[in-house]
Symmetry: C2
Subunit: 337 residues, 2 copies
């Protein structure tokens, strides 16, 4: 154990603990010579400050938390990458929590964070987060919080999102322009505002092109892959009213659709066209290549973290609530040709 602490350093140097501390923090109260001696000895004895003593005293953990539904997910992996980059640059540590799309986990995690373990929190909600009392409760402690992508609708909190309504609209219109008449929508959640917005875009695009929305074509999926495969398979196996286009609001549902189409020999894009929200790096290598709405996931992470640090660093926290909206891009590929 690296057992050198200020006390031992001070003894070795014939100084007081406080002087050593000040020297190490480069205080003006300490002479240049003494500072040099202290630094040298600290180096020699491999002094590492005790982070807990420091945090206890300064009421600052130099740590932020990120709470996301899952990590084996291209979007969140990229977002975390962006977050980590900013955190590292700021010299902050990053505590990572996964809710696995389970509200209980989210609640427990948020409650834990009330203890003051971190200086700020980045959150993307899980699919079945309906009540937000835990978030409100955390917010009331005064800790800086930023939501990204999956944000709560009813809270007055800074958020970083993408243009979900427009993206949903464009994606649907893109399928309509490609000739689709019956477009299904695959959704992951009833509660999330991103789902609402994406689906509102879907609805409005249908309306604009005078296509009646068929509720049977709006599929509520969940986090159980088997179940989703069955739902999709049932829909695509139907003799009549089989859709000729699919708008998947999340990547994994597009993947599932590909599997189902392979399974039941449905030709993409001849028999059914697909477009999906996705950050898959291999989208263009799929068979057929997948048309995507691609969110700037890395930038979302970067922006969220930057915003959070602005809040952390600003003593007088601004009364203006930041709502940053980035743009996704629609990339046409063969699945919707």
């Amino acid at each position: 154990m690296s057992n050198t602490n200020l006390k031992k350093l001070a003894e070795e140097l014939g100084l007081s603990i406080s002087s050593v501390s000040k020297a190490l923090r480069d205080s003006y109260e300490i002479s240049a010579e003494t500072k040099k001696r202290v630094l040298a000895m600290a180096e020699k004895m491999n002094y590492q400050p005790n982070p807990f003593a420091s945090s206890l005293r300064r009421k600052k953990s130099v740590t932020i938390a990120v709470v996301i539904p899952e990590i084996a997910n291209n979007f969140f992996a990229l977002a975390l990458d962006g977050i980590q980059m900013v955190a590292q640059q700021k010299g902050y540590h990053l505590l990572t929590y996964l809710t696995h799309e389970d509200y209980k986990n989210e609640e427990a995690t948020i409650r834990h964070l009330q203890g003051g373990r971190v200086d700020g929190v980045l959150i993307s909600l899980c699919r079945d987060t309906e009540s937000i009392h835990h978030l409100v409760s955390l917010h009331e402690t005064g800790i800086p919080m930023v939501f990204f992508d999956r944000v709560p609708e009813q809270m007055d909190c800074p958020t970083v999102t993408t243009d979900d309504y427009e993206s949903g609209f464009k994606a649907t219109e893109h399928l309509i322009n490609a000739g689709c008449k019956k477009i299904a929508c695959l959704s992951l959640s009833n509660y999330l505002s991103i789902t609402h917005k994406r689906m509102k875009g879907y609805e409005d695009a249908l309306k604009k092109h005078a296509i009646k929305l068929d509720p049977k074509l709006v599929i509520q999926c969940n986090n159980d892959n088997e179940n989703n495969l069955n739902l999709i398979k049932n829909m695509l196996s139907a003799k009549k009213d089989r859709p000729d286009g699919i708008f998947a609001t999340v990547e994994k549902l597009a993947i599932s659709t590909y599997y189902v189409c392979n399974d039941i020999k449905l030709k993409i894009p001849q028999q059914i066209k697909i477009i999906s929200f996705s950050n898959l790096r291999t989208a263009s290598l799929l068979s057929p290549s997948l048309s995507t709405i691609t969110q700037p996931a890395f930038e979302i992470g970067k922006e969220s973290a930057s915003l959070l640090f602005r809040m952390i660093e600003k003593k007088t926290f601004g009364n203006r609530i930041d709502k940053i909206v980035l743009k996704s891009s629609l990339i046409e590929r063969n699945s919707s040709k």
Copy 2:
């Protein structure tokens, strides 16, 4: 801020701080009635213990660190998922560090961890980690450490790996059996033991089938995607001595190879067959579907974390050094048909 601490609780209850502390920790010294009163008041005042004071006093952070090269990588994302699962189950927090394949970052991170911020460390080395002095230094502090997948060769430390030699051998033999005569090997690092092992398998498979190893077909890639694309393109564009098979030791190099083949109109698998280490969930949906050696990434994470917790919990840390080896599976698909 949740400003209730033991002191305030004690005042409110007319008890001493120590009694409240003991009551909350369910000490035998406190009567059942008093405990009930304390718990009720703690609940009422929304008491959250200060983690830093606790850590400082108990010399225990209830936190582990995981140090990985990158997170936007299917293997590491899955491994982290496994790690997080075990950590959460144990009630531990997870500090995540990304080195971005940069040795300087790895060094700095490891040095930071010497401060005692965590109770244990999980590490997968970055591609250019040659010197291990920083790891030795951390190890000397006595902190439990477990390496996974990318492990150092010269250290006496617990590791969790896969059967890399056998996998490299099988992959190469698979290509040979598919008719390949000139098999290239794409490697990411000169230093990592997993690369050495995978390539030794490659060499031995060639040897077994009396194929001479052509050093020009062993490509050292790096972390620069452009560069890798060029290296691969150059090799595949050659008039003579163009390989008819490719063994990619990491997923991203297989992806790059797919892009190059698309670019220069080289037909997979007719003109060139490919097999790669990969945890891509869409491997079977690629065009053509990609033959893979798939590591049990999630299990690697789970095993590593479990092993680490055994070390953390065992006061008398065992003198036996665990070296866990899991099996990868070779999945034949169309890219090597």
